[in-house]
């Protein structure tokens, strides 16, 4: 999930907006594609999106902020999501998450000071029979404990 694109390329934005604007219900696929390319939805993309879809800036802001997935600023180089839902709680997920946050000195959604990893809550990864569950970028891990999380963090360089 490392995003080298620190420079926001206006042509790339235009290309992505253009590639999605003919879809039925184009906005979510467009925002996902922008975030895929830049690691977040860059502010420079707002005007081109509004122009292409004939929506107001307020409408766009409403959509971006409604969904947990969309970021207005880039996350850390990797994102570790830890499940907070009931099935993972029943096998001690909350304690595992709390211990990790305490160890890293972070709150939920916080990023380590070296920018390596952002820790986020997630409500269910569909690993409800093998919790507690976590996801590093797109890789799901089951039955996590302190040691397993430590290993995962080491793998992503945090």
């Amino acid at each position: 999930m490392a995003h080298p694109a620190t420079v926001i390329d206006g042509e790339e934005i235009a290309r992505i907006v253009d590639a999605h604007s003919a879809l039925e219900g184009p906005l979510l696929p467009m925002l996902h594609a922008l975030q895929e390319a830049f690691g977040h939805v860059p502010a420079q993309a707002h005007a081109p999106i509004c122009d292409a879809l004939n929506i107001t800036r307020a409408e766009l802001h409403g959509v971006i902020t409604f969904y947990h997935d969309f970021r207005e600023k880039p996350a850390g180089r990797h994102v570790l999501k830890i499940c907070r839902a009931e099935a993972c709680q029943s096998v001690g997920g909350a304690a595992v998450a709390d211990a990790l946050l305490a160890k890293l000195g972070l709150e939920w959604h916080g990023t380590t000071s070296d920018g390596a990893v952002t820790i986020e809550p997630v409500y269910c990864l569909g690993m409800c029979a093998c919790g507690p569950a976590a996801m590093v970028d797109d890789r799901v891990v089951g039955r996590v404990d302190a040691a397993k999380l430590e290993k995962l963090l080491a793998e992503v360089g945090a």
Partner: protein, 502 residues
């Protein structure tokens, strides 16, 4: 030598890829087939070696087990997988192929009965297709249990230039993974079901709204759609019938409330996932204001077997008005968790103690939450309740999508009630006041109870009544189920703290 290893994300989360690497290194000549999961999650990664046409299981496999698996001497040998108690006791209709076939092989799919249902449907009129679904008694498996055939009839009868099939794959509830397993393990079933729905009601376009938390399911289903297009199963001329149906996968963006059908439709349109008032029904004014069938993954994926074997065959399973099979998802603190498909009517206690083998921690069961975060906590005293829509309703619960989360006796039920309100506050779409404000007040009120304020108890009950009666959708309307069931069945957890404070 043929070896089967699941590529289901639960198996991968438990180390299936490392086992595959070890197998490739130890037996480069072996043919490794990736499958879905059989649903015995406590045995994952479950490796199967085919010997004389019989698939022998080994699990839970680790890389160090590979030599023993290859020469048959492993202590993790389970014998023929089909003969395992868990498999033999099931009626696998919707999940018949999951864990058996290569999910992305259309020829494998057809060799196991795939496309038979669609071929039969293509010879029928739209009304005949709708009638078949009605006769099967199929009810929405996403939670609400609305008769699928009646929904289809409404869309069939609507007159519009464009109609849609929308598959709700926003499986956000804790304790549910049937949709995920189906999409990862047998995606063509869902595609076939959607095609039958489209042909039946006259919709030429379908969307699967799939949550972003399921990257593996997105990858597998997307690939399956590409294959289906290339092979003529989707497109302008479905299997040479002259009838059109095509579909797209759309990724959600992490909002739980988008599992509610009207919120999902708004999200699909690119708007905030805010709930719509009903009426108008989505069946009449759904996606982009057009008549739309919104069905859950399991509902749609069950349609092919109904057409393959006939409506009566399906309806012959079940209990009362709950016909066919239910895909139990046994989860949480449970010794043997996983997916178990069986006819409606099995009792809650049998599921938890007999199939699940009690808790994973070995401690006594305290409560089972049935139906996800919006379902009631059922105490052990209600374990004789049979799993059926009406039967659970009578017992003060809801079967929902039949996900069950087991909790042991260390669980603090006040904490779980608080979490239900907190979750509702985080995920509320904000449209209606009982949900948006009520959930926040609910957290505060439960905190007062935790600090020993007895006056807050009637307030919580009253608040739950207001949320139940006044909310627009099930998020605000059903959050009172876990809260009130925790309070009613486990009053000690709410009183004990009061004494401590005094």
């Amino acid at each position: 030598m043929k070896v089967y290893v699941p590529m289901d994300s639960a198996a991968k989360a438990l180390g299936a890829e490392d086992v595959v690497d070890a197998l490739r290194a130890a037996a480069p000549e072996a043919e490794i087939v990736r499958t879905g999961s059989r649903g015995m999650i406590w045995l994952e990664p479950l490796v199967e070696v085919e010997l004389d046409g019989v698939r022998l299981g080994f699990g839970p496999a680790e890389p160090s087990d590979v030599p023993g698996i290859l020469d048959g001497s492993s202590a993790k040998a389970l014998g023929p997988v089909e003969d395992l108690d868990w498999m033999k006791r099931q009626t696998r209709l919707t999940f018949a192929r999951v864990g058996v076939i290569d999910p992305l092989s259309l020829s494998d799919y057809q060799a196991h009965g795939g496309l038979t249902g669609l071929r039969r449907a293509l010879a029928m009129t739209g009304q005949e297709i709708v009638d078949e679904v009605k006769a099967s008694g199929l009810r929405g498996r996403g939670g609400a249990g609305f008769p699928t055939g009646i929904k289809w009839q409404t869309v069939h009868d609507a007159d519009a230039p464009q109609k849609y099939i929308v598959c709700n794959a926003d499986e956000g509830d804790s304790a549910t993974f049937a949709d995920r397993m189906l999409m990862e393990g047998d995606p063509f079933t869902l595609i076939e079901g959607m095609a039958i729905a489209g042909i039946g009601v006259g919709a030429t376009k379908g969307y699967v709204y799939l949550r972003s938390e399921y990257p593996d399911a997105i990858a597998v289903l997307s690939r399956a759609v590409e294959i289906a297009r290339a092979e003529g199963l989707l497109g302008g001329d479905v299997l040479g019938s002259g009838r059109a149906f095509n579909m797209e996968i759309r990724k959600g963006a992490g909002a739980y409330v988008c599992g509610e059908e009207t919120s999902l439709l708004n999200s699909l349109e690119g708007k905030r996932g805010v709930v719509r008032s009903k009426p108008p029904l989505p069946a009449l004014e759904g996606f982009l204001g057009r008549p739309t069938v919104v069905n859950n993954v399991i509902s749609l994926a069950t349609v092919p077997v109904i057409f393959e074997k006939g409506a009566q065959f399906y309806a012959d399973f079940g209990l009362g008005r709950s016909r066919g099979t239910v895909t139990l998802q046994i989860a949480g603190n449970v010794a043997q968790g996983g997916l178990f498909e069986t006819a409606f009517g099995i009792s809650l206690g049998e599921v938890v103690n007999d199939l699940g083998g009690g808790t994973a921690s070995g401690r006594p069961v305290k409560a089972v939450q049935v139906g996800g975060p919006l379902g009631a906590y059922m105490p052990v005293s209600k374990f004789d309740t049979p799993l059926g829509y009406e039967e659970f309703d009578t017992a003060g619960g809801l079967i929902g999508h039949a996900g069950l989360t087991v909790f042991d006796d260390t669980t603090d039920m006040l904490g779980m009630a608080r979490f239900a309100m907190e979750f509702c506050a985080v995920e509320s779409c904000g449209k209606c006041t009982p949900c948006r404000i009520g959930a926040v007040r609910g957290v505060e009120t439960i905190d007062r109870i935790a600090q020993g304020d007895a006056d807050a108890l009637p307030l919580l009950t009253d608040l739950c009544e207001t949320m139940k009666d006044g909310s627009l959708c099930a998020l605000g309307g059903f959050t009172p189920f876990p809260v009130m069931s925790a309070l009613t069945h486990f009053p000690d957890d709410f009183a004990r703290l009061k004494e401590a404070a005094e």
